[in-house]
């Protein structure tokens, strides 16, 4: 039984702080962490391994320093860590990323057939949730997104039963392996590695695979293989505080004046059906 976990190293967006004087973002010593959804993916893989045996390969595309997230996965129970690192991979969007990962999975699959791939639902820096479906499509694996629990796993009969979240509730699906899951945060609470496990993980080797090793087509890698371009990036304008109205001095006035400010310039008028061109402070009775 062979499970592959796909990991991403991301900046810790939870680290962002606001400078109280200027109201702008300060990111003192912004750290790089393992994407929290991917940490859950590793936990889920380790639990399946504990129950059914087998092997976990952790896969991460990124610069050399991204090997730290592979070590973290190995300290939690992954057997191998493979870093996909090559200048040719840089600047990849989701299409190029899923291509690079798929190539690597195909290589892994030659040695030990892969039964299951587990990815986080999305990464907290990009929030796209596209790489998982892209990878499943390229490999023709059964695609199971928004997974909240694995109900049963039967590698012998090539079956997996999972619970997944959609808008109206939860679906329980039974699907054929090989499959690719993208998992929600609540699907498994990640364990912490013990000190001996941490030390042991530091001694393990991380394999670094380049474009030659994954037999990649240069036109599908990195910037070259990415159809999307970023035209511009901008911070949302800094916030300034508006007036405060005291309800004690007149409840209706306080409410009306606030609403006038909030819905000024026809803000949301179309969605809410607020008549424009009419002064908001006046109601039908002319108050």
């Amino acid at each position: 039984m062979h499970i592959v976990c796909c990991l991403k190293q991301v900046p810790d967006t939870a680290d962002v702080k606001i400078d109280p004087e200027t109201n702008t973002l300060v990111r003192e010593g912004l750290e790089s962490i393992l994407n929290p959804y991917d940490l859950v993916a590793v936990e889920m893989a380790v639990r399946l391994k504990e129950k059914h045996g087998g092997r976990i390969s952790a896969l991460c595309m990124g610069p050399p320093q991204a090997q730290s997230v592979l070590r973290q996965a190995m300290s939690l129970g992954a057997d191998a860590g493979i870093l996909l690192s090559d200048r040719a991979f840089a600047g990849a969007d989701t299409l190029a990323t899923s291509y690079t990962l798929a190539q690597a999975v195909l290589i892994l699959n030659r040695k030990t057939p892969v039964n299951l791939i587990i990815c986080g639902k999305q990464a907290i820096d990009g929030d796209t949730a596209q790489t998982g479906p892209g990878l499943a499509t390229r490999l023709d694996y059964t695609q199971l997104t928004y997974v909240t629990a694995v109900e049963s796993f039967d590698p012998k009969n090539k079956l997996i039963r999972i619970k997944r979240r959609i808008e109206e509730g939860q679906e329980i699906l039974e699907a054929e392996l090989p499959a690719l899951l993208t998992v929600e945060l609540e699907s498994a609470r990640p364990r912490r590695a013990s000190l001996p496990e941490l030390i042991a993980s530091m001694r393990k080797d991380i394999e670094v695979w380049d474009k030659k090793k994954i037999e990649g087509d240069a036109n599908q890698l990195g910037i070259k293989g990415s159809p999307t371009w970023v035209r511009k990036m901008g911070a949302p304008p800094p916030r300034t505080s508006g007036p405060r109205f005291e309800a004690a001095k007149g409840l209706r006035e306080a409410v009306d004046q606030s609403l006038d400010i909030i819905f000024a310039d026809g803000f949301m008028a179309e969605e809410l059906g607020i008549p424009t061109g009419v002064h908001h402070g006046k109601d039908s009775r002319g108050n």
């Binding site: 300060v26 320093q65 679906e171 329980i172 306080a254 409410v255």
Partner: protein
């Protein structure tokens, strides 16, 4: 332009422009960028390899680098003025789940009509499923020129691989310039499959769409880095230009009295294993609602952490087409599930309108609401930090303020029930 001893052109930080956000530091593949003691980024020329990723991600253009290679795509297009090409198609995928179409699909038809008019293109809708012809007339009545219908028994229930194959095949036949889908769990699941089949670019969760005048390209704007940065993305050389758009970003369009035509398509499903639906547990109450998808959030804080406040909060949310969310103390009290939490340890949100009720606005909370377009705060503590970021604030007890707010809003909002 600085060069390394090896002759590689490397970028430099313009200290006056740098805001010390450190996004470049996290992006640099060789760890060449450091933060100086005065809070500005600095690039070590010994380490830098000149890849230019820092220049690409810098939100304030503080990285000085000749980016000709990277932006030439855009420049080249600007050299020759854009003229609409006849026969182009803008398309929208109509999402149907359990016999109901998702509202976001109709919202997108409205927006796509605008985009199609700018391009002088036809607007097409893709309707897929089993026994779904009834939805075609709605698509036509909202402004589509043509509706492509693909019906098959195997499409009764949504299955990623089957829908992905069918929609890809339709897109292949119709060759649209643009394909829009709702950023629902269904739409996001499907879009990744279709974009991979069609080998084209996909931009997820957009909050803004427009046609760039001089190039005719679709400009897709989306929040990134947890909602702290807005990125505008385009897809130059691949078609269709694909985007998923969050629900309620665009208004529901009005009726359009135009002629439209129905085009039926046959389809042969691929040989693939289909997951079997064992059970469905309906849960519309608390779980399964993604607060980041709503245009209006009514956020309960510690000051409104009581069972009595909830009917008022729900009514307010209903009136504005929003949903009730909360700050951390409310989750800790057990009144709301974690999924509804806004804040550093919860969700970063970027609604159009945020109304905080009894939210004090600790920094961990404020940082997560930066992306909100407008903020109204209600709190009985005049010194609550939430007022520092609010466009307007009401100092008072929620039990008094909310009923008045609801009644004044009812007078203002025409289309409430």
């Amino acid at each position: 332009m600085a060069k390394t001893p090896a002759g590689i052109e490397i970028p430099e930080i313009i200290p006056d422009k740098c805001i010390g956000c450190q996004i470049c530091i996290s992006k640099c593949p060789v760890e060449a960028i450091k933060l100086t003691p005065d809070g500005k980024a600095w690039i070590d020329p010994e380490i830098c390899e000149g890849c230019g990723q820092c220049a690409e991600v810098c939100p304030v253009e503080a990285v000085d680098l000749d980016r000709t290679e990277r932006i030439k795509a855009g420049k080249r297009l600007r050299d020759k003025p854009f003229t609409p090409v006849s026969g182009q198609v803008v398309s929208v995928y109509i999402e149907i789940r359990n016999g109901k179409a998702a509202d976001v699909s109709w919202e997108l038809v409205g927006k796509a009509r605008e985009l199609a008019d700018k391009l002088e293109a036809r607007l097409a809708a893709f309707v897929l499923g089993s026994d779904v012809e009834e939805f075609c007339a709605r698509a036509g009545s909202l402004g589509c020129d043509e509706v492509h219908l693909l019906e098959h028994d195997t499409l009764k229930r949504y299955v990623s691989s089957l829908y992905g194959h069918a929609l890809s095949e339709l897109a292949h036949k119709v060759q649209p310039e643009i394909l829009l889908m709702g950023a629902t769990s269904h739409g996001r699941d499907l879009a990744g499959v279709v974009a991979t089949h069609l080998k084209t670019g996909l931009t997820a969760d957009c909050t803004g769409l427009d046609i760039e005048e001089d190039s005719g390209l679709l400009l897709m704007t989306r929040p990134t880095f947890g909602g702290n940065i807005m990125a505008t993305i385009f897809c130059e050389n691949h078609r269709p230009q694909m985007s998923t758009v969050r629900p309620k970003v665009f208004p529901m369009p009005g009726l359009n009295e135009k002629k439209w035509k129905l085009i039926r398509h046959a389809w042969r499903p691929p040989e693939s294993s289909v997951p079997e639906l064992i059970a469905f547990i309906e849960d519309k109450s608390l779980l399964g609602i993604d607060i980041t998808e709503y245009p209006v959030l009514i956020v309960a804080g510690k000051g409104a952490c009581s069972k009595d406040s909830f009917p008022l909060l729900e009514e307010l949310a209903g009136l504005l087409g929003g949903v009730v969310a909360c700050s951390r103390p409310v989750v800790e009290s057990g009144l709301m599930p974690y999924e509804r939490q806004v804040g550093q340890t919860g969700k970063t949100v970027a609604p159009k309108l945020y109304i905080g009720v009894g939210v004090s606005g600790a920094i961990q909370h404020r940082v997560a609401i930066q992306g909100a377009e407008r903020i109204l705060a209600v709190n009985n503590d005049p010194d609550a930090p939430i007022f520092q970021v609010a466009d307007a604030g009401i100092v008072g007890d929620y039990a008094q303020v909310l009923p008045e707010l609801i009644s004044r809003l009812k007078a203002k909002v025409k289309n409430h029930e």
